[in-house]
């Protein structure tokens, strides 16, 4: 299991390389959850909503892992579920091979599910305790017509599936109930189930966060292996930015429902541009920083993520941002190319040439710009 996977060729930027056919794309994806409506709310003027995801753009390519990182509650899972069409979306489009798709249920949903599959965060919860491994996998195969015609076909398909996730020999696992498996084995079964549909894109929502340190790596390596062998497009969701560095080709950072930074993983983790990404990286435990408990880390804002029901105007990070400018509280920063590496961008006014220029005169420039609008 000690797979010595060195970093992927660092030169290969997201734009280059031949095997980068776009499988799934999200454009302006938005999801607002209505705050549970009661009878009495019928009379109130406006409906409060959780702005869980706002205007998210995302591209998943074949044979390519895209990581989505961000703190708890930033909307990562929601993005995954939207991509899996498990939630109706409030706005935006999901393009499968360039075609906008919206499916709610029934046959079209199945057809979609055949190409886009999701792996859930918690392997302890995502398998039904009352069913065996065989049941879970058989269903996945049958629903998508991959079970073959005869019982033998099915057996073969099952064995193949378990083989793909390195659960061999298959007969040792087929009749087991989830509680009889270890966490890593369960997660493998969950992955096998997703593979049962023979998908093109895999949405892995924190596939290892519930697993033990020593098992995590095995599952991650398995996913990488699958990406390479089956040429899958994988969305890897995590809040562990270090694992994104190791595992993903590209990393996107989410904060409070919005994408704040994106780019090649190594670049994002080593040269974070957005103040939030920086905070995240500074906060991550770092063994090399022994006795690194300097006072400055303790005082980054009050640590409270913003309310998503009434998100802050402008940049959502502005109440905690050490570099906050007046404009941050007013205008929403767009994606701005950083320029250090191709494809590295951040949604932060710090990198706006205008702002950079206006930085020196002070807030007057901001004011004039304000007036110009």
């Amino acid at each position: 299991m000690t797979l010595s996977n060195s970093a992927p060729a660092p030169a290969a930027g997201p734009a280059s390389g031949p095997a980068t056919e776009v499988v799934l794309e999200a454009v302006g994806l938005t999801k607002h959850f209505p705050v549970r409506r009661k009878l009495r709310d019928l009379f109130t003027r406006e409906h409060a909503a959780v702005h869980a995801v706002d205007d998210v753009n995302l591209v998943l390519r074949r044979g390519h892992v895209t990581a989505l990182v961000g703190e708890s509650g930033s909307g990562k899972s929601t993005v995954a579920r939207l991509l899996a069409q498990l939630y109706p979306r409030t706005g935006g489009d999901i393009l499968l091979h360039g075609d906008a798709v919206t499916v709610k249920g029934g046959r079209r949903f199945r057809a979609y599910a055949r190409r886009v599959q999701m792996i859930f965060q918690d392997p302890f919860a995502s398998l039904n305790p009352v069913h065996t491994v065989r049941y879970h996998l058989t269903r996945a195969l049958k629903i998508h017509g991959n079970a073959g015609r005869t019982a033998d076909d099915l057996e073969r398909a099952l064995a193949d599936l378990l083989g793909r996730v390195s659960l061999t020999p298959p007969e040792r696992y087929l009749e087991k109930f989830p509680h009889e498996l270890s966490g890593g084995q369960r997660q493998r079964v969950a992955i096998a189930r997703a593979l049962g549909a023979n998908p093109e894109a895999l949405l892995a929502d924190e596939p290892v966060s519930m697993l033990d340190v020593s098992i995590r790596l095995g599952v991650l390596n398995l996913l990488r292996d699958l990406k390479e062998r089956l040429n899958l497009a994988i969305l890897y969701i995590t809040h562990d930015i270090a694992s994104a560095r190791y595992f993903a080709d590209e990393t996107m950072v989410m904060y409070a429902g919005r994408m704040v930074e994106g780019g090649e993983s190594e670049t994002v983790t080593q040269n974070p541009a957005h103040p939030y990404t920086r905070l995240l990286i500074e906060s991550a435990p770092d063994p090399d920083r022994i006795s690194g408990l300097t006072a400055d880390t303790g005082d980054r804002g009050n640590g409270e993520p913003p309310s998503l029901i009434n998100p802050p105007a402008g940049c959502r990070f502005n109440p905690r941002c050490p570099n906050v400018m007046p404009r941050c509280t007013v205008d929403l920063p767009p994606r701005i190319e950083i320029g250090d590496r191709p494809g590295h961008w951040a949604a932060c006014w710090l990198y706006d040439p205008a702002t950079v220029a206006a930085q020196q005169p002070g807030s007057a420039a901001a004011a004039t710009e304000e007036a110009a609008r």
């Binding site: 299991m1 000690t2 797979l3 010595s4 996977n5 060195s6 970093a7 703190e71 708890s72 270890s182 890593g184 084995q185 033990d212 340190v213 020593s214 098992i215 995590r216 790596l217 095995g218 390596n221 809040h239 930015i241 270090a242 694992s243 560095r245 190791y246 595992f247 190594e266 983790t269 080593q270 905070l279 995240l280 990286i281 500074e282 906060s283 991550a284 435990p285 770092d286 063994p287 090399d288 920083r289 022994i290 690194g292 408990l293 006072a295 880390t297 303790g298 005082d299 980054r300 640590g303 409270e304 993520p305």
Partner: protein
């Protein structure tokens, strides 16, 4: 400041259940906590870290029993005594005043029906009955301020606070009686990295001011390396290695420690090669013979399955203050 022991755990055995059914969750653990130090306790899930923490204060719920060993506490300036031998009344007086505990889930650690103030003051009341109500409240406010919560949150109920605030309340509560030892069982796993750093930073700062010792439990080794003075690694209910944090990080001796360290992707620095630990954690009911790690150990050789390695100072001259239980590094001086 270090050097003087404050808590000595000797040959502690903790079981779940009795007789044949018993699961030996902690076996023959020897560990010494020194004054003012942060002792990290790591190991994967189920290795017995929590059991050890609860066991040494006799807080294990049934069917847990302490089947052997002793926990010697050294009060500052007083005679040491065995915590496990205290009567119920003595134990109650001992708890919190000498050792306080911060548990993993702050949501569940605070009584949902009482205000923060009540929960802060009742512990003071129980241990210092002579203190006036006003003095108690004052102390409670002070504790809140200490952990960075505005004292006007005193009258809040737990559910009105965020997870981080609750955790900080718990830390404040733990320090209210200025105990000698604070045990923290995964105090930050439920929190965000940002929040985690914030809280731990505060804790370390407080330790500097108040001088208590900390037993810090987690399975996140990189966190431990950064935060603690010494680290003990547990595997299958036993301590397999113990060393100063830096030493352990730079030069882990036990293959399991090496595996653990190799499982963490590092965020900074050069990209390291990652090597996981193959296999799965042992079943406590059917422990492997000899060294319980041997079935997963890449370096296992012939004594490993046969004989149990004893925790002791390794032969090799790799600096003092470290012990390991591995046949690769046979013990020169066994501990205990």
């Amino acid at each position: 400041m270090t050097g003087q022991p404050v808590l000595e755990i000797r040959n502690l055995d903790v079981d779940y259940g009795l007789g044949d059914q018993a699961v030996h969750a902690v076996r023959e653990v020897n560990l010494t906590l020194h004054r003012g130090e942060v002792l990290g306790l790591a190991g994967e899930s189920g290795s017995g870290k929590s059991t050890l923490a609860y066991g040494l204060t006799r807080l294990l719920p049934p069917p847990g029993v302490i089947s052997g060993g002793e926990v010697i506490y050294h009060p500052p300036g007083g005679e040491p005594y065995d915590v496990l031998g205290l009567s119920d009344r003595e134990l109650r007086a001992f708890r919190w005043a000498e050792t306080a505990i911060v548990f993993q889930g702050a949501m569940n650690s605070l009584n949902p029906v009482h205000k923060i103030s009540t929960q802060l003051t009742d512990v003071i009341k129980a241990h210092q009955p002579n203190l006036s109500a006003a003095a108690r409240t004052a102390r409670a406010r002070e504790m809140l301020r200490l952990v960075g919560i505005s004292p006007d949150r005193m009258e809040s109920y737990p559910h009105q606070l965020s997870g981080g605030m609750r955790q900080r309340v718990m830390i404040g509560m733990a320090l209210a009686l200025e105990p000698q030892v604070v045990i923290m069982d995964e105090p930050t796993t439920a929190l965000d990295v940002v929040m985690q750093r914030q809280i731990l930073g505060q804790l370390i700062e407080l330790r500097e001011r108040l001088g208590f010792s900390v037993i810090f439990i987690t399975h996140d080794l990189s966190l431990l390396v950064e935060f603690s003075d010494r680290i003990a690694i547990m595997y299958g209910g036993r301590i397999v290695e113990e060393a100063p944090a830096e030493t352990l990080y730079r030069d882990p001796m036990h293959p399991y420690s090496q595996g653990l360290l190799g499982s963490f992707p590092a965020l900074r620095g050069p990209r390291r090669e990652l090597a996981g630990i193959p296999g799965s954690p042992p079943d406590l009911r059917a422990m492997p013979t000899g060294c319980s790690f041997h079935p997963r150990c890449p370096k296992a050789f012939e004594p490993c399955p046969a004989r149990l390695p004893i925790l002791g100072q390794p032969d090799a001259p790799t600096g003092g203050g470290r012990t390991v239980a591995c046949w690769l590094h046979p013990a020169r001086v066994p501990v205990g």
